[in-house]
Amino acid sequence: MERVADSVLLLVILSNFVVLGTTRLTTCIRAVAWQGALLGVLPLVLSSTWSVHTVGLAVGTILVKAVALPRFLSWAIREAAVRREVEPRVGYVASLLLGVVAVALAAAVAQRLPVPGVHPVLLLPASLAAVIIGLLVLTARAKALTQVVGYLVLENGIYLFGLTHVDRVPFLVEAGVLLDVFVAVFIMGIVVFHINREFDSLNSAHLSELRD
């Protein structure tokens, strides 16, 4: 099972690079949807016995992160005239290179962190890499929608770290976290929809009226 888990985690890391490298908003959403699906499969791969807890977590994660949120985000941009990220704050090649640096950094840090218990080799590096890349997308992209995707990648990284405690963190808490993420992205999606209608593009760089 360890090898399956590591292959899944490798795909998770690769999906970050799709988010970093694409200009198309729909590809961005699709990549994060795949990432959500992979994350949903992980609890099943990681635990030897399937309890209600792990199955519930898997189903909930897939429903929220791979189905509901991506569909909703696609709805939010459907009317948008602009479907591409035109002027990113950091270029695509630079972003990809920074992504590589992030993964290297994550691997280096993960080696020094003593996490108790037995985990797949790639779990900690994948988690930290997603956290760093999520923050990178949030700052490097100007489109409101891409920033939502960055937030989702960040949350996915934290979810991966949470998997080191999967049998110790109670289901109620996991359900609460998932619900919070769902509502957060839902509200963000509604705001993205309104920004789009109000400004004719999804550029959060236009949001600079309020200042001192």
């Binding site: 003593p114 934290i158 405690h165 976290v177 309104h194 959060s204």
Partner: protein, 478 residues
Amino acid sequence: MVLLALVLLPVLGALGAYAHRAVAYRTAWLVSVALLHVALVGDAWIDPPAPALDGWLALDALGLVVLSTVSLLFAVVAAYAVGYLRRENPRGGRAFVSCLLAFLASASLVSVSHHLALLWVGMEATTLALAPLIFHRHDRRSLEAVWKYLVISSVGIALALLGTFFLATAQVSAGPEGRPLVLEDLMAGAPRLHPAWLKAAFVFLLAGYGTKLGLAPLHTWKPDTFGESPALVGALMAGGLTSAAFLGLARATQVAVAAGQGGFVQPPLIAFGLGSLAVAAAFMIGQTDVKRLLAYSSVEHAGLLVLGLGLGGVGAYGSVLHLVNNALVKGLLFLAVGNVVLATGTAAAGSLGGLLKGLPASGLLLVVGLFAVTGSPPFGPFLSEFTILRAAFNGGHLWVAAVMLTLLAVIFIGMAAMILEMAYGHAPKRESVRRESGWMVAGPVMLACGVLALGVVIPRPLGALLSLAASALGGATP
């Protein structure tokens, strides 16, 4: 049972309020849920409730202080909302009251959670419950405000979740004993917590809950959000949200201090505290919008709260007392400003003047609020700020005391310059100024009485509770 009821009552209230079509029904519903909540909190004072849900929900002194503060402030805001919703019809109509009640539910959850991940769930819910309320006008400015608020708060709070997981790792590294992330077990096993993971956890929790608290330089959402949202939402944010976020940070500090890491947590807390005071002072001078001025005042008071926490000793007592004072005085100021904005249609200080004549009650409340918020005697904040200052002297941090006093003086000048000009200055010509409604004056008057009373005498039960809360934070009673 009482603990569950404290959370579930407002949840049911939120659902019930959504079902009603008529505004009058909804506001009556809002006020009755708020009063029932206050009654439940009163019951918790008389008869301390037993822990529920396997110890995940419990009420200690610190939690009770925050819970009571939020509950009372909410009751006042609910009464104010009766008058407000009669005059204004915010977009989102039915959802408005439901979101307010959802905020009460989530803030109650934060206060009674002794499971730190559950506390996180409540904290994120407070953020989300208020977001639709900022967005009530659906114009460009409120879009920008709600976007900044959502993105900055969500990223901050995500980091706090990572910090919470780090804390769980620190606990597991120490051994399998104890329920994971339950405060009592964390405190009991604190000396054994893995130091490196604990430090990492504290850093992330400080950044995360510090963002919610609005500590400089993580405060950038505050002026925009407070400036664009209705005044009663500002009152809930500056008073309620700040108290809840402080509780999250206080929990992290509590565990770190019990683990013997007091020396590690103090310097960043003091630095964030003084930094927030400095940023608030700098941006208050020359501010033109009164709501944004209050936002920077909120940054200042968040700074004072963590400064007291960082100084320790009697500072912890000062901090907890200041939390109560801050909620009362911020409620008072925001609601008074709300009356002014409703009556005149503007929050720009330049086009306001002579309020003591035009709107006598709100004008007077503003002036009282000004002296209270800047820590002048005989109001409550004077006492709590003085206690924090004493902690600085006691701990031998003379330069901290000196910097704090200087910045407080600058802040006083900045705030007084604008508010006194609004109260006494030349009144611009206006076609009509709407009269103040009784509902919208009664609440702030009660808050003003409260903040004055706390400056004169601290009731014995409250004093005892504050001492307990301070000692839980490793502090002392002055």
